[in-house]
């Protein structure tokens, strides 16, 4: 029997395509975090009232916290079905390194839950009266920050696999790790509005992304192996 081998890229592409195809079939799972993001961010102007100066001041923080919670919402499902149906064992037993398969899963999580948030953010930012320059910085900071959220979140999702009450535990584990991303993400917009320039904050966000791209898949792979034992 002749078998055509797939390169490393081919294997990772197959993982990505599977995740995207699954998401397209269960659209609710992609839309729920997005709707959650919109609702949470819209509640603040309603609760605080129409005082535009205050809203403007709060906008970056509120939008970033909402994005962070929305990203958390879909994390629990990252490995859950693969764990119950046995696919995860097969990924561990693949001749492709598990950390790379995990990186592909994290990338798919970003594409399906982080990227929609980035695209939705300016619409919500308008509600708070952010100007176009701030909206641009906000989108850029989210674009650099949400992949880090997916990567760090994957570690938490792997550690809490098969645990009862995994959802709460997952939030307790990952939210503290999200703090640096939140500080530099929201800080970027504020710093720019204050005339200090957002470059420093954005560079730090990019540095966090590079660091987590390197270490998070390794940590996630180890956590998955432990969860399966």
């Amino acid at each position: 029997m002749s078998t055509r081998t797939l390169g490393l890229g081919g294997v990772l592409l197959a993982v990505l395509r599977r995740e995207v195809a699954l998401a397209m079939r269960q659209k609710g799972e992609v839309l729920t975090p997005l709707v959650f993001f919109v609702v949470i961010a819209s509640l603040f102007p309603l609760g605080i009232g129409p005082e535009s100066a205050l809203l403007l001041r709060m906008a970056p923080g509120v939008l970033w916290v909402s994005a962070l919670l929305a990203a958390m919402l879909s994390l629990q499902r990252l490995f859950a079905t693969d764990y119950t149906d046995g696919s995860l064992e097969q990924m561990v037993l693949s001749s492709t390194p598990l950390s790379l398969l995990v990186a592909a899963k994290a990338l798919s999580h970003f594409l399906l839950s982080g990227l929609p948030l980035v695209l939705m953010a300016p619409v919500l930012g308008l509600q708070f009266g952010l100007d176009s320059r701030s909206l641009g910085i906000l989108m850029l900071s989210l674009l650099l920050g949400t992949p880090t959220l997916s990567l760090i979140g994957a570690i938490g999702a792997a550690l809490t696999l098969g645990v009862r009450g995994a959802g709460v535990l997952l939030s307790l584990l990952t939210l503290p790790l999200y703090i640096p991303v939140l500080i530099f993400g929201a800080g970027a917009v504020e710093a720019d509005a204050a005339g200090l320039g957002a470059n420093g904050h954005l560079s730090l966000l990019a540095a966090l992304l590079v660091l987590s791209t390197f270490f998070a898949p390794l940590a996630t792979a180890t956590a998955l192996r432990i969860s399966l034992e």
């Binding site: 029997m1 797939l6 081919g10 599977r18 079939r25 046995g86 064992e89 037993l93 693949s94 001749s95």
Partner: protein, 174 residues
């Protein structure tokens, strides 16, 4: 491999695959511990556990394609159709897995065997949920594999003739 329920058949198989930790002893493949040559060992290994490792909301063919990709090979559609046909799944390649019965799901998982170039097959209770014809088919498949210089480790509660080859019987718990 036989033995009473709960005696540790599945645990032993999982150890053989490197999925479960080993307290004492070593597991060697080509005279090297499997932990120190994971990627090479997994290239040679096909494992089928209790779970079928099929994604319910994907079609039969998509599942096979993904599993082949994990093993590092591109799915040959003709070979896949032939394998499915062999297991009585002709015409079901575009059905979603969740619409199949338990026995048919098992057959989909097992049809992967016919596509796998792996040398070592580790099968946990492959005959469960299979009808007589299915058992016969699987036994023949294992016999062909052994005839091609392959290896197979499997657990079963029933005595199944595997071709002309006399299996090494390991009875756990004795």
């Amino acid at each position: 491999m036989t033995g009473a329920n709960g005696v540790g058949k599945t645990s032993l198989l999982r150890m053989v695959c490197g999925l479960a930790p080993i307290e004492t002893g070593r597991i060697l493949w080509n005279e090297t511990p499997i932990q120190s040559q994971r990627d090479a060992f997994y290239q040679d290994l096909f494992y089928l556990g209790h779970a079928n490792a099929l994604q319910e909301s994907m079609t039969v063919m998509e599942n096979l394609r993904f599993r082949c990709a994990l093993a590092g090979t591109a799915l040959d559609s003709d070979a896949a159709l032939a394998a499915l046909g062999m297991f009585g799944l002709k015409g079901r390649q575009h059905q979603l897995v969740k619409h199949l019965s338990q026995g048919l799901k098992r057959r989909v998982a097992l049809s992967r065997l016919a596509l796998s170039p792996a040398r070592l097959w580790v099968l946990d209770e492959p005959f469960v949920a299979m009808d007589d014809a299915g058992v016969r088919l699987l036994a023949d498949l294992v016999a062909t594999h052994l005839g091609r210089d392959g290896l197979a480790v499997l657990t079963s509660h029933q005595q199944v003739d595997i071709g002309s080859i006399a299996p090494q019987l390991l009875e756990l718990g004795k």
